[in-house]
Amino acid sequence: MERGGLPGGRDQTVTEAPRKYLKLALRIVLGGIFLYAGMLKIADPATFAGSVAAYKLLPTFGNYLVAATLPWVEVFCGVLLIIGIRTRPAATLILLMNLVFAVALSSAIIRGLDIDCGCFRQGGPKTSPWIALLRDLAFIAGTVVLLWLDTCRTEPPAA
């Protein structure tokens, strides 16, 4: 990107640097969170299957299938975001996963299920679905900002 404002366009020199650092920070934070969340679940897949089962959304084998695969998708996305390769598909996937989590958590709240969200450490003290949902919405916001920053960078400057 050349320095100096384009005629009639936004001043690129002002926005470029903060944008870069914000993107880097979001990548590391979101990537780190998902890497961490995924690794905790990989360490204890059977308990995670129990957490999934507690949502009462899937048949028994479906719970195990999710428990076997979902944490690995989380870890992959986390690693890709941190190292900055294939940021867009990784961030998009994280956004999609967070949307699914938000729907699942909302349905748990609506059905009045008193369950642990199963988001991070499996077993132990419960995290209420409300807190988990708020956290989830924060992740969604972060991912949307990250994707937006990414799109802006690759778009050709307005003529």
Partner: protein, 163 residues
């Protein structure tokens, strides 16, 4: 800007690779859950480490009684037990738990559902006994909190009462 098709392809590739590794990594768990072998260590209850006895109401207890399911256990002392108890119940006084556990273990398998009661809501011996039996490795422990008084009050079968 990349076309969305590339983006979708990349997403599919990431999911496919991650899922393949996940399936391979957890193949044993998946096979066991598919064949239904994993039920026991099944994590549907996330409290396997600190399980507590489950309280039951008199209706539920009567249902189990009628179906002949479960092993009724009287936590009160031997003399009180002799003065009347739920029909078919066995005596295991809380105070004699340690001395009688070895014998009890031989007679009752760990998978047997145990329904424990004592002298009603003010009495905590049944709950204490239940906790000890969980520590001793028993799997399904129910507490009939209403205990003998509620059972007798309801006119359900008792035995050992003096005429």
């Amino acid at each position: 800007m990349k076309p969305p098709r590339t983006l979708i392809t990349e997403i599919v590739v990431i999911i496919a690779v991650a899922a393949a590794i996940g399936l391979a990594w957890n193949r044993q768990m998946l096979v066991e859950s598919w064949t239904g072998k994993v039920q026991r260590s099944s994590p549907t209850v996330a409290t396997t480490t600190d399980r507590l006895p489950l309280p039951l109401g008199v209706m539920q207890v009567k249902e189990l009684f009628d179906r002949g399911e479960g092993y009724f256990l009287d936590a009160r002392d031997a003399a009180t037990f002799a003065g009347g108890h739920i029909r078919g119940a066995r005596s295991l006084p809380l105070g004699e738990f340690e001395t009688r556990l070895p014998e009890f273990r031989k007679q009752v398998p760990k998978t047997m559902p145990l329904i424990i009661y004592c002298n009603g809501y003010g009495c905590h011996d049944s709950m204490d006994l239940g906790k000890k039996l969980i520590q001793a490795g028993y799997w399904e422990i129910f507490i009939f909190e209403g205990g003998y008084p509620e059972w007798k009050e309801a006119g359900y079968p008792v035995e050992g009462t003096k005429p």
